[in-house]
């Protein structure tokens, strides 16, 4: 068990290094930060001086090395655009994204599993068919369009919910801000969370359904039925638990995807999270912010992956004794 965790952590670090390299090499193609930092009356000389100041005249490997060196110490440099520590900015923005991701994740998982189980149990029922078909509409339109349509309907036409932002937030501790504690904060969460969670919800629902159908035709389910266990017990105690094994993996991956896809939702709703920060950073070629964001995402993702693997062991007793490096 310990050896397994150590090995996975090692692999994770390797993954992070590669991500760092790829991420960093990508910035060279995003654009040139200089023009955004200087006004229209700048001279060529100003451009060259600033370039040297930022170390952009250095060869690529040197830049990467300098970045890594800082990153190891948790120092991602200073944002070109905001002139503040990147780690500080990220920390400031992270709660917004995490809260949004959390709510949409919970929404997606709870409703997704519920509907998935329902459609699997009532496999041939009309309601199940309608749910299945309706869920596809959610994945047949691009997220940004769904967001804009929601805004149009609920903010502009009906005026029920705010069209952008996070509403009022309350500070907790040194750096965490939450929108959960105010009415406007909770209201502001609804539309973005639906937009972001819809796709994942559909995905989870469909996955749960197919896994559940697969489980439901297993011998042990028939055996459980043959023992006269109540339908509820068969479906939830026996079938759902087995369904969760593969589902947990995918949900883990989806959590990462939620944070990544938050980029789009945050852009549409002007949600002040790291995704919006990243899009802005791209627009202004704020390399330190971009690099740090990608590293943050990777760390989160690798972390979630690791957690999922461990959770796996927790759910499935077969894996507790020994685990061969299989990965499904």
């Amino acid at each position: 068990m310990l050896a397994f965790v150590i090995r996975r952590v090692g692999q994770s670090i390797l993954v992070l290094l590669i991500v760092g390299l790829v991420a960093f090499s990508m910035f060279r193609f995003v654009g040139d930060p200089i023009d955004n930092m200087l006004g229209q009356e700048r001279t060529i000389e100003d451009v060259e001086r600033l370039r040297a100041q930022l170390g952009l005249d250095q060869p690529f490997p040197v830049q990467y090395f300098r970045f890594l060196e800082g990153a190891i110490q948790g120092n991602f440099g200073v944002s070109y655009r905001q002139g503040r520590e990147v780690s500080e900015i990220l920390l400031e923005r992270a709660p917004a994204t995490l809260e949004l991701a959390f709510v949409s994740g919970v929404l997606a998982i709870a409703i997704g599993i519920m509907l998935g189980v329902f459609t699997a149990i009532r496999r041939n029922g009309a309601t199940a068919h309608i749910i299945m078909a309706a869920s596809l509409i959610g994945v047949s339109l691009p997220t940004f369009l769904i967001g804009i349509l929601l805004i149009y309907l609920f903010s502009v036409e009906l005026g029920w919910l705010p069209s952008f932002g996070r509403g009022e937030t309350v500070s907790i501790g040194d750096w965490w801000t939450t929108g959960f504690l105010t009415e406007s904060g909770r209201k502001a969460l609804i539309l973005p969370a639906i937009t972001l969670g819809l796709y994942q919800m559909t995905l989870i629902m469909r996955l749960v359904r197919s896994e559940m159908l697969e489980v439901l035709r297993q011998d042990y389910i028939r055996f459980a039925r043959a023992r006269g266990l109540k339908e509820r017990a068969v479906n939830f105690h026996h079938a759902l638990k087995n369904t969760m094994v593969p589902v947990v993996t995918v949900i883990g991956l989806q959590l990462g995807a939620i944070i990544a896809f938050a980029i789009i939702t945050e852009t549409v709703f002007q949600w002040p999270g790291v995704g919006l920060l990243f899009i802005n950073a791209i627009q202004f070629v704020d390399i330190p912010v971009m690099a740090a964001y990608l590293m943050l995402i990777s760390v989160m993702f690798v972390g979630i992956n690791l957690l999922v693997d461990i959770l796996y062991v927790f759910i499935d007793p077969r894996l507790r004794v020994d685990r061969t490096g299989g990965h499904s």
Partner: protein, 324 residues
Amino acid sequence: MTTPVLSIRNLSVEIPTRQGILKPVDRVSYDIAAGEILGVVGESGAGKSMAGNAVIGLLNRPAHIAGGEIRLNGARIDPLEGEEMRRMRGKEIGMIFQDPLTSLNPLLTIGDQLTETMLTHLPIGRKEAEKRAVAALDEVGIPGAKERIDSYPHEFSGGMRQRVVIALALCAEPSLVIADEPTTALDVSVQAQIIALLKRLCRERGTAVMLITHDMGVIAEAADRVAVMYAGRLAELGPVREVLTEPRHPYTHGLMASTPLASQGQTRLHQIPGSMPKLNYMPDGCAFHPRCPRAADKCRTAPAPTLTDGRAACWFPMVTEAAE
């Protein structure tokens, strides 16, 4: 004569398909008395498992009971549905599946699975259920039952798991147990032990057993009576010794000829030419006639007689001189 535990009369199961209605079980009748073990044999697809599933109410849609009746301890159970049928299962009818590896939920301890079943059917508390679970494991011969109660299925060997399955099937003390190929998936060395266990438990408790198998050896060892099925129909029914030694139906005969009784291995029917017809390509007349060495014109046109009295559903049953 006392009421048999299970009484099946003219049971038919149908599956509507686009090629027409298939009849995997066609007008089958038999009884099982308390403490009696009825062996049901036949090739795969002969309808023996389907009949068992019909009894316990676990037919997969669109298969359904199309005719006849099933009585348990004298009461009809075939019209029961949903909740009523569920209460019968486990409580009145237990079932044992073929593969102990897949019959147990891998994510729950065997203790959980046992207590859950007992709590569902018996008016007892958790404490009592746990106590009984240990006793049940003990009874099926799991050493160190008290400690193993919290083990997961994968921590047991195949034979041990089948013992757990038997404990599970019997834990609510049903009056009928349907054992669907209970030994097929097991090592040869373990098979006999499991059969012996099953036999002992049923004798002790007076449980009726429907022992579904394709293995004549198992039948010979465990069953009191035997029902031979072919293509959904009952071909022959009688006390095991008589059927085995003096088969009257040509199919049973062929079956016996292909089965050295001493063998514990898998039965193969090389000796009967051809193969069992598919349900959607049923020949006219007796279903067995294309393979039957004794087939006459009548067999080709008239459906085989329904077995009511007499032992074999055959126009020209074999006479006893074959034996002895």
